[in-house]
């Protein structure tokens, strides 16, 4: 069992299903069990893509305007 911090509230959770979890990792917890480790790189990558999506569109629109 490990202590998991839910944004200030600390509860115990069983780590049997995330054997490679280490202190400082983020985990998904369901009914007192950690079921998955949060892949922090993927989280950042996805969010960055979404946050910059409109800039990508501006670039593509720009190219379209520069036709012959």
């Amino acid at each position: 069992m490990a202590k998991v911090d839910f944004g200030g509230m600390v509860r115990e959770a069983c780590l049997s299903y995330v054997p490679d979890a280490r202190i400082g990792d983020y985990v998904l917890v369901h009914v007192g069990f950690a079921i998955s480790k949060v892949d922090e790189e993927e989280a950042a990558r996805t969010f960055q893509y979404l946050a910059e999506m409109d800039q990508l569109n501006e670039l593509q629109d720009g190219e379209g305007d520069q036709g012959p």
Binding site: F6, G7, R11, C14, S16, Y17, V18, P19, Y26, L28, H30, V31, G32, F33, I35, S36, V38, D39, E40, E42, A43, R45, T46, F47, L50, A51, M53, D54, N57
Partner: protein
């Protein structure tokens, strides 16, 4: 809180909605499977944020909603016994059976306890050796590893006064049932994020192939859901039907091997009755023969159960995405969270409860003004 707050960012939400509007050229019907996703959609008003051509219909992914009436009546019969301490997750407490609910049984003197984790039951069993502790083990694949662990540890620790009443349900057979239905309108799915964190997504690939529907594994925060919708719309607009992972920070194709191993040790796949949908073959987990000493269905003889559903309730059609809560004449009138008539109102994650709790029965959808 990191990995929560940014996935609720309003500006990013608007960017995704704008991209959906740029992409979409015709109406599409999408179903989100999980009750938690339904709850998020209604709470954050995502269905109102999205362009009109996107119709979100709500699926059967609320385990409390789909636990069969017969199983609930069985639970109540066991809970009434004076030698039993009946343990359950909190959201089962007010689920109405044919005659009563666990909360009423508790107020009438039944020993009913709410637990946060199934492991809490083991302590209760050790502390009460003269009583039989029974845990109501419901849920989808997400909860199965936790419930399995409680049985496994009970055996490891030599606890003899603990048993489980199992009513697990599985998502893929329910999806297939919906897609195979002659009235089906669903053209793409927001797949169940935490179910797939456990089970992976290999069982959904044949569904994509057979029915040619896009399935996008989706999380639960507003940004996750909007991203899932965008990925579905992009596929639909380009005539693609693929399985995509929109929840990469939590889900891999193979899922969680340690969790799957425990499930396989303790449970077997079986036919399961779904409230509102009927019996779906091979759609649930039951306790394996090896653990029969922990099987409350075998231990307690509660006689014949005759389950009685109210005729007015249309939750079966709501769970299949054919109707919405506002289509039901009883919604917000005879039927409310305080007095639920059927499956989709009983749990906070059910579609009817979600609509009610966020005031959808009070607001005229067209004009967004108060009704009455």
């Amino acid at each position: 809180m990191k990995y929560l707050d940014e996935y609720r960012d309003k500006r990013v939400a608007q960017k995704i909605v704008d991209e959906i509007e740029r992409t979409i050229t015709q109406p599409w019907v999408l179903m989100e499977v999980c009750g938690g996703q339904t709850h998020s959609i209604v709470k954050y008003g995502l269905d109102r944020l999205l362009p009109e051509q996107v119709e979100l219909v709500h699926g059967p992914g609320c385990p409390v909603c789909v636990t069969s009436l017969e199983m609930i009546d069985r639970a109540h019969a066991i809970a009434r016994r004076p030698d039993v301490i009946f343990c359950s997750f909190g959201d089962m407490l007010r689920v109405p059976g044919s005659h009563s609910d666990l909360f009423k049984i508790k107020s009438e003197g039944g020993n009913v306890r709410v637990v946060y984790s199934p492991l809490d039951c083991l302590k209760i069993a050790r502390d009460n050796p003269a009583k039989k502790v029974v845990f109501f083990a419901i849920g989808f694949e997400t909860t199965a590893p936790a419930n399995a662990m409680s049985v496994w540890q009970a055996r490891e620790q030599g606890i003899r006064n603990f048993s489980v009443l199992v009513s697990h349900v599985l998502v893929p057979p329910a999806m297939i049932g919906i897609l195979a239905s002659p009235n089906n309108r669903v053209q793409a799915f927001l797949g169940p994020g935490h179910v797939c964190a456990i089970a992976g997504w290999t069982e959904y690939e044949p569904i994509v192939d057979q029915f040619k529907v896009p399935i996008v594994i989706t999380g639960f925060e507003p940004i996750d859901i909007l991203q899932g919708v965008l990925m579905c719309v992009r596929q639909l607009e380009h005539g693609r039907a693929e399985l995509e992972n929109g929840y990469t920070r939590a889900v891999q194709r193979e899922g969680n091997p340690a969790a799957q191993k425990m499930i396989e040790r303790v449970f077997v796949v079986c036919d399961r009755a779904w409230r509102g949908l009927g019996v779906i073959p091979q759609s649930g987990y039951g306790l394996s023969e090896e653990f029969r000493d922990y099987n409350a269905e075998l231990i307690f003889d509660v006689g014949n159960i005759h389950a009685l559903e109210p005729a007015i309730c249309m939750s079966g059609e709501i769970l299949k995405g054919l109707k919405k809560p506002l289509d039901c004449p009883a919604f917000g009138k005879q039927c409310s969270p305080e007095n639920p008539l059927g499956a989709t109102m009983v749990s906070a994650e059910g579609a009817c409860a979600a609509y009610y709790n966020y005031g959808r029965h009070l607001v005229d959808i067209e004009t967004l003004t108060a009704k009455g």
